[in-house]
Amino acid sequence: MNKKSLIQKAAASPHIVWSVLFIVAPLIFVMYYAFTDKEGNFTFGNFTELFQASYLEIFMRSVCFAFLATVICLVIAYPIAYFISRAKPKTQKILIMLIMLPMWMNFLIRTYSWMALMEDTGIINSFLGIFGIGPVHMINTAGAVIVGMVYNYLPYMIIPIHSVLSKVDGRLLEAAADLGSNPLTVITKVVFPLSIPGIISGITMVFVPSISTFYISQKLGGGNFDLIGDTIERQFQTAYNYNLGASMSFVLMLLIIISMTIMNKYADDDGGVII
């Protein structure tokens, strides 16, 4: 037994060492750069620079884009996750595989594809043109960027929700119907509250990458408006201002940690607020 407990203790140690070296240490560097100037002196200057109207606007815009993308993903993903979870196990497996499949294609190429689809002379508009509609202006708008985000991160919303829903005991749905719930209230009163953990992890998995993306906004937004990801990338790759970039990353990180903490706190509140 002693040997066993020793093994148990030792098992996590590679992970702990790895985490300290490659998760914690890098974050300390981010903090170091965020709180120093180019000469390495301690300063809050990077943060005061961030509080310029222009950067605040970028932050706000990124939050809005990511928020809308997340909401849309949730609205689209929930029904499909639900339908899939009610199918036969074998069908479920296939459908989920099919939903994951696009993620194996290169994300840059897929985004490029959307450009070809959404342009004024693009495929969608050519198609609409056959019926005499349009051209509908899509590319280089906020909407196009959000479509790009929704497209890229939709599977990350569907999969966690589906995995929770597929574990919901079918008898609970019958019990609800038996007690007088119509199909709609079965969903609002039973299915939805039970799937909150899946929704939370779905929201996390969509919101976080959406808020920090920097390719989608460049390609589908026509570079007309920057998001926080673009701005951070520029500090590191173009402007060579590590300190400002680090402070932006730091703020972004805080922003995410705070919002996730709030969300998780509400979710843990014995079974969710929404009952």
Binding site: R171, L172, A175, A177, D178, L179, G180, S181, P193, L194
Partner: protein, 373 residues
């Protein structure tokens, strides 16, 4: 018993994946009745219940409620509620909210909800448990919550799907009494599904024995026990020795190479029949006084009595006796005329009766997940 029919099934059949689960079922349920559907797993009892609840639509036949056809009415519009096999309590709601669920859907005023929930909690002895997380309750407590939740809607009929299956023996007995009391107090019709014949006999007004998707017999517990209609029922309800016999004449039957006087009549002459003799109705007597005689194979002490397996004419009889006999001893047996019950031959003839491979645990084992879609 009230004579007003509340539910009626007419010629109902159902099959899943080409397999016939229910075969032309006719069933009448009366108001205030405690009816039990009894049968081994796969016999179609749960499917019958689910048809009544509305989770399964019959392939053919009619389901009548108060004389009206309700085949297509969805479950949430039926005044029938169900206590599910493993309770199916909502894990995201506490005890109070679980019970209040149905009332909330009807937008009942909060005060009324409070009163009725409290009333239900009192009935099932769970006052003070309102705030509890249902996942942390014991099996018996969860059971009570499930009953309270189903009853708060004041349904006309309560369906119970093996509600005591997951409880231990002691708790089971208590809950049986409690259920019976609740039924008496509320006057609601109970349709109870179980595979436990003892439970069925002790609780029900009417027992419906099912096998292979068909109803084998409908009757009061005493009828079912004393006058089983075929070998299946005889075997399923209690212990029984089922012996091939020939009806010589009215009141005269021959089996095991011996002629017996009985109380049955109305069979044609020399008709082959199944003869049922309950183990407790067989008296052990000295060989010379016995109608039949045989060698004792084994004796098991069961507390109230000894269970004796005796080979008579190559047939192994089971006899329950308060007197001890030694194995390998030769004994005689005596059977009173009223202890002999004659049944017509049926599809089940010959399948049961001999105790050579007896094991009373087998049939209880595989019954938990029955007829899941």
């Amino acid at each position: 018993m009230n004579e007003k029919k509340i539910i009626e099934l007419k010629g109902v059949s159902k099959s899943f994946d080409g397999e016939l689960i229910l075969d032309n079922i006719d069933l009448k349920v009366y108001e205030k009745e405690f009816m039990t559907l009894l049968g081994p797993s796969g016999c179609g009892k749960t499917t019958t219940l689910r048809i009544i609840a509305g989770f399964v639509t019959p392939d053919c036949g009619e389901l009548l409620f108060d004389g009206e056809k309700i085949n297509e009415v969805p479950p949430y519009k039926r005044s029938v509620n169900t206590v599910f096999q493993k309770y199916a309590l909502f894990p995201h709601l506490n005890v109070y909210e679980n019970i209040a669920f149905a009332l909330r859907l009807k937008k009942t005023p909060e005060e009324e909800i409070y009163e009725r929930v409290e009333e239900m909690l009192t009935m099932v002895n769970l006052r003070g448990f309102e705030k509890r997380d249902v996942n942390l309750l014991s099996g018996g407590q969860q059971q009570r919550v499930a009953i309270a939740r189903a009853l708060i809607n004041k349904p006309r009929v309560l369906l119970l799907d093996e509600p005591l299956g997951a409880l231990d023996l002691k708790l089971r007995k208590d809950m049986q009494n409690e259920l019976k009391n609740i039924q008496r107090k509320t006057g609601i019709t109970f349709i109870y599904v179980t595979h436990d014949q003892e439970e069925a006999l002790s609780m029900s007004d009417t027992v419906v024995v099912m096998a292979n998707g068909k109803i084998q017999q409908i009757g009061s517990p005493t009828d079912i026990y004393n006058e089983p209609e075929n070998a299946f029922v005889a075997d399923f309800i209690g212990e029984s020795n089922i012996i091939d016999g020939v009806m010589l004449d009215d009141f005269k039957v021959r089996f095991s190479g011996h002629e017996f006087v009985c109380l049955d009549k109305g069979f044609s002459k020399n008709e082959p029949v199944d003869v049922v003799v309950r183990p407790e109705d067989v008296d052990v007597v000295p060989v010379e006084k016995g109608m039949l005689s045989g060698i004792v194979d084994s004796v098991t002490f069961k507390g109230v009595h000894y269970e004796i397996i005796v080979t008579i004419n190559k047939f192994k009889w089971m006899i329950q006796s308060t007197d001890y006999v030694a194995p390998a001893q030769k004994i005689g047996i005596y059977v009173e005329p009223d202890a002999i019950h004659i049944m017509k031959k049926s599809e089940f003839s010959g399948m049961f009766g001999d105790y050579s491979s007896f094991s009373d645990e087998l049939e209880h084992l595989s019954d938990v997940t029955e007829e899941e879609e």
